[in-house]
């Protein structure tokens, strides 16, 4: 058997993960620093009987993956800043019409064209609130190449399980970084398929949710002729102007994710048992935080790290617990302070929260975090 140990880029690991998860359709528009995801999908998809399409723009890419998913194909698109903005309207469509799909955003410097080849973390809030209206979101952030592989699979699994778009929020560093990774054997992977109806087509109510708040989904072309719309709709899928129907739908969409928070939330923590200071970071910054923690520990300062992996929903309960026993939480981010707003909301009353922000489109170095912590000590 071929050795599965390889040197690969984060963007490559994303494609490997997607195909392992069952991706059979990709549509998108090239943009740095996500382009390798499109290129590798173009190369690999036809080899597994899947299809790749370079669309005329990112809006089209987002629309096409929703169409393909409705026809039964696990689908993904990838982009960066400007393209992520263009996809927002149809991300909302996938949310209300409950169409599983994966959207990768490899963050670069913004706003606008910004710094196309440099890293940033400026889309934390856009990932949460980018599309209009009240809506739930699942967004996952990897901080290594191997984790990119794992989280891409997880993103597909969650999209299928909860019938919702899932965002994989990478950054340029993780996308382009090369690491030696050992990919798991496909047989070891847990792959989730969407719930399909087991009733007759006459009985099928496309938006009638089960106990888990997720309605079974029929593929177009399989005999269940139903209607899908981005308008507020009732269980039959047809539009409704009824206030109660609207209220029920918007609440169910939100509760569908809320109800499964325990399964969705994920994070990694290190040295938090005795920590007086916690560094909370994600993506490429979490790597610097780890080094900073080691440097400070060697100086006898009790530092731990907390890394949300699911940024949305944020691992709220665990952070609140930790905040009750630490003096300070330091939040380094490659933006002017986005996720820190969530941290402040969750535990601003329990502990001191310090920000460390960089918007020069450069990575945050361990020494900068060390300096910050020594300053606030």
């Amino acid at each position: 058997m071929k050795s599965r140990v390889r040197l690969m880029q984060g963007n490559e690991a994303c494609v490997e993960g997607a195909i392992a998860a069952g991706m059979r359709f990709y549509a998108g528009y090239p943009i740095t620093p996500s382009t390798e995801i499109a290129e590798l999908s173009a190369e690999k998809l036809p080899l597994v009987g899947g299809r790749f399409m370079q669309m005329e723009d990112e809006i089209g890419g987002m629309a096409a993956i929703i169409g393909a998913s409705l026809a039964g194909a696990k689908s993904m698109t990838a982009t960066s800043g400007p393209g992520f903005s263009l996809k927002q309207e149809n991300i909302g469509y996938a949310t209300i019409a409950e169409v599983p799909c994966v959207i990768v955003n490899v963050q670069r410097g913004g706003p606008s064209t910004g710094m196309p080849t440099s890293p940033a973390q400026g889309e934390i809030m856009q990932a949460r609130w980018g599309t209009h209206g009240d809506h739930p979101v699942i967004a996952l952030t990897p901080s290594s190449v191997r984790e990119t592989f794992d989280l891409t699979i997880k993103a597909f699994n969650m999209a299928e399980k909860y019938r919702t778009p899932v965002i994989l929020l990478m950054d340029e560093v993780i996308g382009h970084m090369r690491e030696k990774v050992q990919l798991p054997d496909p047989s070891e992977l847990e792959i989730v398929e969407r719930k399909r109806p087991d009733c007759s087509s006459e009985e099928y109510l496309p938006y009638k949710a089960d106990y888990d708040l997720v309605p079974p989904m029929a593929d177009f072309g399989t005999g269940y002729r139903y209607h899908v719309t981005g308008l507020v709709h009732d269980e039959t899928g047809f539009p409704s102007n009824n206030a109660e129907v609207a209220d029920k739908l918007i609440r169910r969409l939100s509760n569908k994710i809320e109800m499964h928070r325990d399964e969705i939330e994920s994070w990694e923590e290190e040295n938090t048992e005795d920590a007086e200071i916690i560094i909370l970071s994600y993506g490429c910054v979490a790597r610097a935080s780890k080094s900073a923690m080691n440097i400070l520990r060697s100086k006898g300062i009790k530092v731990g790290t907390f890394r949300p992996i699911s940024i949305w929903p944020f691992p709220e309960r665990r952070l609140r617990e930790l905040s009750l026993r630490v003096k300070t939480i330091v939040v380094p981010e490659m933006n002017l302070g986005q996720l820190v707003l969530e941290v402040e909301r969750i535990c601003g009353c329990n502990t001191i929260i310090e920000k460390l922000n960089k918007v020069s489109c450069e990575i945050i170095y361990p020494e900068e975090i060390v300096r910050k912590i020594e300053e606030v000590l």
Binding site: F25, M53, G60, S69, L70, A71, E89, F220, R225, G230
Partner: protein, 274 residues
């Protein structure tokens, strides 16, 4: 008693439709359904996709796999469906604003790829759903709520646009010429590649009222009196054709279809690895 066509293909419990009395969108929808019926397509294998607008409400009344998407994006959603399941007959219904303003980019690229989709544009020369603003097909100097002094934009010829962008079957009919419309849609459904049918509709509520075109009946009469079939047009002088609307089959030149071309790549790669 609803006709057999209505009985077999409409979601009768969803009727009556939201369209205004005299709107041309209803007869156009009926012509499309009649073409599907005559083509003998399996309802389970037909998917009707639309954007946003009065016209785009049509799929909700039709008993197929139906997808009402976002404004202008219907063709891009439809492209994904066709790519994932090439055996589905994908029909796209759009308004003139939907297809040539906000969705213009998707339109020309779907034409260029020659992907196996039948697109039908309900062209009423106005934005109906939002209350009568001018569209890319509002004739020059006509009025809309956002062109109170007359529209100075030049109008698109949707059929010429589609034909030159690469659509392999192109035709035009009006709401009045319902039988012609049915036969054009039938031919379009027969074409493997991308087809575009422009169905000239009427919007008595906004376009008609703003431009003093009289009642719906007057507007239909205009279509009857001013449309010239392409086969008859050849015999007419340029003067006689001035201000006339060319209808009929405007382009029919089949070329390899996109998803078939992609399948060839998949098959070739498979063979190479055997």
């Amino acid at each position: 008693m609803p006709s057999e066509l209505v009985e077999n293909y409409f979601r009768t419990e969803k009727l009556p439709q939201i369209w205004c009395p005299g709107c041309g969108h209803g007869t156009i929808t009926r012509s499309i359904v009649s073409a599907i019926d005559k083509s003998g397509l399996d309802k389970n294998k037909v998917c009707i996709v639309s954007g946003i607008g009065c016209s785009s409400r049509a799929p909700g009344y039709l008993d197929f796999n139906t997808l009402h998407t976002t404004h202008g994006r219907a063709l891009a959603f439809a492209t994904g469906i066709k790519m994932a399941k090439p055996d589905i007959n994908v029909i796209v219904i759009m308004g003139d604003g939907d297809s040539t303003a906000i969705g213009g980019n998707h339109l020309i690229h779907a034409c260029r790829r020659n992907i196996g989709i039948t697109a039908i544009v309900y062209n009423n020369s106005i934005y109906g759903m939002t209350g009568g603003q001018y569209s890319p097909t509002t004739p020059k100097y006509d009025k809309g709520t956002t062109a109170p002094y007359g529209n100075i934009d030049k109008a698109f010829d949707i059929c010429n646009l589609a034909a030159s962008a690469g659509a392999t079957y192109v035709g035009r009919a009006t709401a009045y010429h319902a039988n012609l419309l049915t036969s054009l849609v039938q031919n379009a459904l027969n074409n493997d590649g991308f087809s575009l049918i422009e169905a000239i509709s009427i919007c008595p509520t906004y376009y008609g009222r703003k431009n003093k075109r009289g009642t719906a009946v007057n507007m239909m009469e205009w279509q009857k009196n001013n449309a010239v079939n392409i086969s008859a047009a050849a015999k007419l002088s340029p003067e006689a054709l001035e201000g006339k609307l060319l209808i009929g089959e405007l382009k029919n030149s089949p070329e390899p279809e996109y998803t078939n071309e992609y399948q060839k790549i998949i098959d070739r790669l498979k063979k190479e690895r055997q």
